[in-house]
Structures are given as structure tokens and as C-alpha cells.
């Protein structure tokens, strides 16, 4: 990308960049603040209640080790909400450990001689704590807050998985679309933000040093001291203000209040095809109905999308029959496409009050793929052909595939096949990995544009192991009742997109780096739908 193009690229995204940075600050700032309000008193409590220390620090330590995505899924189940709330809670829980621990350590480390003096001159116990012990522990406590906030900037990028925005949104979208520019657009500001947060709390620490107190009023030093105190506060305020004044095109929560039920919230998982399907449904609904669409795209996987749908946090998203069958309903694989669709339709209706609409047409099943050159050299055509050399092959799977019964565990049984080693990848990195010879086998998606673009060969599923993965809109029956036109409009998609077409659409976006909205619009126009 030339320099001019780069500048143009950034300028074009500047308003959103500003907004995401603000959201990011808000998420980090508010979670660090609430962690302070909990962590410091907890640290003080633990200092005074020795027997509680072990169990309590244990619990806080365990919270820290929960993987972030698991934490988000858990909070979604608990709160029945996606968006800012679960993200803030997760970030707060992660920030607790450094703050509580440093508070405890700081209080413990105050010299016994000084504390004896405090007691000996006649301070009450709480005066000893407030006038001597806490002020002397303050630098250590602030250092803990600093750690929590800087780490928080990093963790907050994961909030995008649950629709809470922040700079992670760019990273998430970039990963989904295999778009390095987008990833950097999120990652570089996030790194800068971490530095700024670190600096500002460092400045706060500097202002807190006792000798700063005697700076003459109105002197440069005392001015700097006041600035140093205001810096972290200002950062949090900027975040909060940006968050609450964000323009309507980002969040329709305000519109939602005004217009009541006239809003449809569409979710997607975090990969290209999902974004395309989500955008397709959104554009169609926007043109063919008078409903307002809120795009809650790029949610962190099946469980979060399904959880959000069941809890009414989104109204529809595109799901795959095989995924619904095995991952959601925990049912055994059904190989017949009709039968599979029938089963999920029936069970979703009974169990979740959710409706499966007409499938789009393509079957995005897993395609165990190898480099075409390797396939030619070894004469691999079917998955069974891999059996001999499997133990020498390195497999790169998505985390979901590695665990799902219709993924690697089932595949291993069906083909009595064991790869030498399996690595988990983010879906988009998986393709880069096989292209760069880091792995030999991947679980490609049958509709992925990169299969053709990267010269990969999908191997034939000769034992019909993989269930059909026909994509279809899944929608809450409640909204379908209020807005029956949604059903009519979405049925226009029935059978419209076959595998080859989906591959091309995917490649337009993640191969050619074109904008999803543009590609979708072009397609819908060509089809005469728009």
C-alpha cells in the first residue's frame, strides 16, 4: 500500500477509529475503576483477616486463569446479555488480582517501626490504617492498578467477541476477513493506548510522591502535579463520553428506545462468510421492509451467537444445520441433508422457540484439505488416503473443530486416523499456516475462497463422515410473529447461493480485500433482488 493510500485508508476510518478507541478507554477505565473499588477494600480486608487470605487469593487467582472466551460465554449464560455489561464484568474480574494482591503486599510491607510509632503516639486503629499504613502502601497499590490497567487494555480487545466494541472490533474483523490492515488498525492503537495508560498512571504515581506536596502553588511543578492527577481521570472520561455520544450508525440503542420493536438485530460469528450472510440479510431487510437493522456482527463463535439469540440479545443469525445438530443439540451426526434440516427445525422450535428458515443453498461442510502439490505427489484424493502418512503430518484445526464430535474426535474414529500433532488456529490463520508450510492438513471450510486461491485440495469425505452444513437464517419466533414480513423477505434467499458462488463471494472479501457491504450490494443487484 502506498503512503497516500495508507493515509486515505486511515482517514476514511478515522471516525470509527476514534469511536473504538473511546469505547476501548471506557471498557478499560470503567473496569479498572470497579476493580479498584472491589480490589482495594478486599486487599485491606485480607490484610486484617489472615485466615481469609489463602482461600480468597485462591479464588481471585482462579478467576485470572479462566480463558477469556470461556469467561465471556459463562457470563452470557449468567447475565443473558451480550455487549458492554458482560465485557465490563469479565475485565473487572481479570483486573482484581493485581489490585488486591498489591494492596495486601503494600499494606504488609509497611515497616513495623513506623506502625509502632503510629500506635505509640495514640492513633486509633483506623487512623493508623488511614493516616499511615495506606498512604505508605499507596505506591505499591498504584503500581498494582497500573499493571491491571495496562493488561486490561490488552484483554479489552477480546470484548469485541461479545459485541462490546473497542479496538478489538478491528482486530476481530481483520482476523475474520484475513485483512492485515484492519488487524493493524486495531492492534497499533491498542498498543499505543497501553503505553498512554501506562504513562498516565505513572504520572499519577509521580504526583503522589510525598515531596510533590510542597511544590509552591502556581509553580510549574505543582501545575504538572495537578495535570498528572487529572490525566487518568481524563482518559476514562474521554472514553465514557465517546461511548455515550456515539453516532446512531454504530449503535441503535437510542433508536431502539424510540421505535420500540421496529428494530431487528442481526448477529454473525467471526468469519468472512458469516459477515457476508449477515450483511446480505441486513441489506435485504433494510430495503424490503421499514425495519431498522442493528448489526451485532463478529460475535465470538457459535456458543455466543446461540446464547445471544436464545436470550433475545440478537434476533437472527445464519447457522449451519450440522452445527445446530451437533454443537447445539448435541445430537449424533445425520448425514442426510433433508433429514438434518428437518430435525434441527423441529427441535429448535420445541426447545428454543427459534425458527429455521429456508437454507441459502450451499453446504459449508468441513473439507479436510492439503496442498495440491502434496496431494499430487502422494496421490491423495480421499481422506482415507491420508491414513498411511497421517502420523507424519501436522494438522492445523480451528479450536472448535478440535473439540466438536463432528470434528477431529469423530474423524479420528471414522477413519481410524491419527495425525502426528494438532495445533489450534484462528480460522483465518489456519489458511496462512498451510500456505506457509507450517501445517500439512487443515479443516478448511468448503466454501472458503482461499481453497482455490491458495491452491489447496479438498479431500473427498469417502466415508460420509461430515454432516451437511447447510446455512440458513435462524430467527426468534417472537419477532417473526410481530414482523411476519421478515419471513417472506428472507425466504428470497432460499437456494440462491451454491458452493461455487459462496466461494467467490468469500474470496472477493477476504482474498481481494473488498468491503463486505460493497460485495454484497453488487451481488444482490446482479441477482435482481435489490
Amino acid at each position: 500500500m502506498s503512503f497516500d493510500a495508507l493515509v486515505a485508508y486511515i482517514l476514511e476510518r478515522l471516525p470509527e477509529l476514534w469511536l473504538r478507541t473511546g469505547e476501548h478507554l471506557m471498557l478499560t477505565g470503567c473496569s479498572t475503576l470497579s476493580a479498584m473499588f472491589i480490589g482495594i477494600p478486599v486487599g485491606i480486608l485480607l490484610y486484617r483477616t489472615t485466615w481469609l487470605r489463602g482461600p480468597m487469593m485462591g479464588v481471585i487467582g482462579i478467576l485470572q486463569t479462566i480463558p477469556s472466551l470461556a469467561m465471556l460465554v459463562f457470563l452470557l449464560a449468567l447475565l443473558k446479555k451480550i455487549g458492554v455489561m458482560p465485557a465490563l464484568i469479565a475485565l473487572t474480574l481479570y483486573a482484581l488480582l493485581p489490585i488486591a494482591r498489591n494492596t495486601l503486599t503494600g499494606l504488609e510491607e509497611v515497616s513495623a517501626e513506623v506502625m509502632e510509632a503510629a500506635e505509640g503516639i495514640g492513633m486509633q486503629e483506623y487512623q493508623q490504617l488511614m493516616m499511615v499504613r495506606i498512604p505508605l502502601a499507596a505506591p505499591v497499590i498504584v503500581a498494582g492498578i497500573r499493571t491491571a490497567a495496562v493488561v486490561g487494555v490488552g484483554i479489552a480487545t477480546l470484548s469485541a467477541f461479545i459485541g462490546a466494541g473497542g479496538l478489538g472490533q478491528f482486530i476481530n474483523r481483520g482476523l475474520a476477513l484475513a485483512n492485515t490492515n484492519l488487524i493493524l488498525l486495531g492492534a497499533i492503537p491498542a498498543a499505543l493506548l497501553a503505553l498512554i495508560v501506562d504513562f498516565s498512571i505513572g504520572a499519577f504515581e509521580w504526583g503522589l510522591r510525598p515531596e510533590r506536596k510542597r511544590d509552591k502553588k502556581g509553580s510549574v511543578q505543582s501545575l504538572m502535579r495537578q495535570l498528572a492527577f487529572m490525566l487518568p481521570v481524563a482518559l476514562v472520561l474521554i472514553g465514557i463520553v465517546t461511548y455515550f455520544t456515539k453516532p446512531g450508525w454504530i449503535s441503535e440503542s437510542a433508536t431502539q428506545l424510540e421505535t420500540g420493536h421496529r428494530i431487528v438485530r442481526i448477529g454473525t460469528k467471526n468469519f468472512t462468510e458469516q459477515l457476508i450472510l449477515g450483511e446480505m440479510m441486513a441489506q435485504l431487510i433494510e430495503t424490503k421492509t421499514d425495519l431498522i437493522v442493528e448489526r451485532r456482527f463478529n460475535l465470538g463463535g457459535t456458543m455466543i451467537c446461540h446464547g445471544a439469540l436464545v436470550n433475545g440479545e440478537i434476533d437472527l443469525y445464519a447457522e449451519y444445520t450440522g452445527t445446530g445438530l451437533t454443537a447445539i443439540l448435541k445430537h449424533a451426526v445425520i448425514s442426510d441433508p433433508e433429514e438434518a434440516l428437518h430435525y434441527v427445525t423441529k427441535t429448535y422450535h420445541e426447545r428454543f422457540d427459534l425458527q429455521w428458515l429456508k437454507p441459502f443453498g450451499f453446504n459449508n461442510t468441513y473439507a479436510i484439505s492439503v496442498r495440491a502439490a502434496d496431494a499430487a505427489q502422494n496421490g491423495w484424493n480421499t481422506i482415507s488416503d491420508l491414513k498411511e502418512s497421517a502420523k507424519n503430518l501436522l494438522a492445523g484445526f480451528t479450536a472448535e473443530f478440535a473439540e466438536r464430535p463432528d470434528g477431529y474426535p469423530g474423524l479420528r474414529q471414522a477413519y481410524t486416523l491419527q495425525f502426528g500433532d494438532v495445533r489450534d488456529f484462528d480460522p483465518s490463520l489456519m489458511y496462512e499456516a498451510i500456505r506457509n508450510n507450517e501445517v500439512d492438513v487443515i479443516c478448511a471450510f468448503a466454501t472458503d475462497g482461499r481453497i482455490a486461491a491458495y491452491n489447496l485440495k479438498p479431500l473427498k469425505d469417502d466415508r460420509n463422515f461430515f454432516p451437511p452444513y447447510h446455512a440458513a437464517p435462524v430467527i426468534r419466533e417472537e419477532i417473526l410473529k410481530t414482523h411476519p414480513e421478515l419471513g417472506d423477505v428472507l425466504s428470497l434467499f432460499g437456494g440462491l447461493i451454491d458452493n461455487a458462488r459462496m466461494q467467490r463471494l468469500n474470496f472477493e472479501v477476504d482474498g481481494k480485500k473488498r468491503r463486505t457491504a460493497e460485495v454484497v450490494k453488487e451481488f444482490l443487484k446482479a441477482k435482481g433482488i435489490l
Partner: protein, 247 residues
């Protein structure tokens, strides 16, 4: 007046005693030195007077009232305490350190300020130069002067001094000892002074109580102790090195 009657203190449930059957009294305006080597119970005794440590047995009276009947916080605010390790608050300026007890007692800012200036002058650290400094910007001797000023701030009747000059170099120590002698005459306090230094004890004490392994060996003026040592321990103690200035 401070009066100890048959005071015992054990830290290990009675297997050993830090202070054993100690009775003594400190008269108005007097400076009593508790002299002994480390572990003899002198600091324990001092801390029992303001209830930093509570006696196992026996009574300690301050102003004719058992310390156990005092609210410990109120008691401590009436008794100035100069600590062994100086014990200034490192995050407070000299001014704030000196003012702390008056502040706890709720004095007005103005009277606190006046008192602080008066005291810093008294210990030879003029307020205009020292008030805004922090303890670690002062030498050890200056810090301990502040420690004395802090102990005197609320104008207590009693002053407890726990080896206040122990950590200082010899020259500074001697200067401070001389200053204390002068100060003593100016302020007319009842002082209990703990030391392990014979020379210091003889210089400062109106009377000296010699403690050994928790027992009181002898209490009396320096003349009594030097002329008629009560026990072999006392005799040996002063026989080793009879300070020349008192002969």
C-alpha cells in the same frame, strides 16, 4: 507520677519472664533511667507504661490510675514517646510529623502551627528551614530532634524515651545528650529514659534503675549506685568502667 507495683510480663505463657516482680515509681519532674543490656526488660517496661504492651500481672499507675483502666489511645496521647528507630512518618513533612498528636487531639490549625514553630525552635531546627522537608532529607541527629519535638507537641506530662540516641554516631549522640540536659531543665517533664549506655545513664538520670534478666537489681541516684552497689551485678557493672567524669 508513674508507679509500678509487682509487675510481671511473660511473652511465652510463663516459661520465662521479660519483667519479673518489678516495683518502682517515677516522681514528678524526675528523670528515671532504665539501664540494662538488651533483653533485660527495660523496653518492655517502658512500653507497658503506655500500654503498647500489657502487663501479665501487677499494676501500673499513671496519675494515680491503673493504665488498664485508661483508654489506651487517650493514655498514649498524654504521654510523649520517643522511639528507638526514630519512627517518624516518612510520607509526612517535618511539620506534619510534629503536629500529628495535636491534630489527633483536634487542636486548631493556628495553635498547631504555633506549637510546631515553638518546638522546632526548641530543638534547634528553625521551622522556616525545616518544616517542609521530609524525614529522609534530614540527618539521623536532626531526625531524632524532630522525634523529641513530636513527643513534646501536645505538652504531655510524661515523656518516654526508648534508647533515642542509640542509632546515632558518637559525636551526634553526645551533642544530643547535652541538648537533652538543657531541654530537661527548660521543660520540666517526668521522663523515663531507656538506655544500655552506662555513661548516658549517669549523665541523664536523676535516678537510675538497673535491670538484669527481668529483675530490678538496684534503683537510686548515681551516688547511691556508685557508692553502695546493692548487688554483685551492679558492683561488677561499674567496676569494669567507672566513668571518669563522676569520680
Amino acid at each position: 507520677m508513674i508507679k509500678l507495683t509487682r509487675v510481671f510480663k511473660t511473652f511465652d505463657g510463663g516459661r520465662s519472664y521479660a519483667v519479673k516482680d518489678l516495683s518502682l515509681s517515677v516522681d514528678w519532674g524526675e528523670t528515671l533511667v532504665l539501664l540494662g543490656s538488651s533483653g533485660c526488660g527495660k523496653t518492655t517496661t517502658l512500653k507497658m507504661i503506655n500500654r503498647l504492651i500489657e502487663p501479665t500481672k501487677g499494676t501500673i499507675e499513671v496519675n494515680g490510675r491503673d493504665v488498664m483502666d485508661h483508654n489506651p489511645v487517650d493514655l498514649r496521647r498524654q504521654i510523649g514517646y520517643v522511639f528507638q528507630e526514630i519512627g517518624l512518618f516518612p510520607h509526612m513533612t517535618i511539620e506534619q510529623n510534629v503536629e500529628i498528636v495535636p491534630r489527633l487531639l483536634g487542636w486548631s490549625i493556628r495553635s498547631r502551627r504555633e506549637r510546631m514553630q515553638e518546638l522546632l525552635d526548641l530543638v534547634g531546627l528553625p521551622a522556616e528551614r525545616f518544616a517542609e522537608r521530609f524525614p529522609d532529607e534530614l540527618s539521623g541527629g536532626q531526625q531524632q530532634r524532630v522525634g523529641v519535638a513530636r513527643a513534646l507537641a501536645a505538652n504531655p506530662t510524661y515523656l518516654l524515651m526508648d534508647e533515642p540516641f542509640g542509632a546515632l554516631d558518637a559525636l551526634t549522640r553526645e551533642a544530643l545528650q547535652q541538648e537533652l540536659l538543657t531541654l530537661k531543665n527548660q521543660i520540666k517533664k517526668t521522663i523515663v529514659f531507656v538506655t544500655h549506655d552506662l555513661h548516658e545513664a549517669l549523665l541523664i538520670g536523676d535516678r537510675i534503675a538497673i535491670l538484669h534478666e527481668g529483675n530490678l537489681e538496684q534503683i537510686g541516684t548515681k551516688k547511691d549506685i556508685l557508692d553502695t552497689p546493692a548487688t554483685k551485678f551492679v558492683k561488677d557493672l561499674f567496676a569494669i568502667k567507672r566513668p571518669s567524669i563522676f569520680t
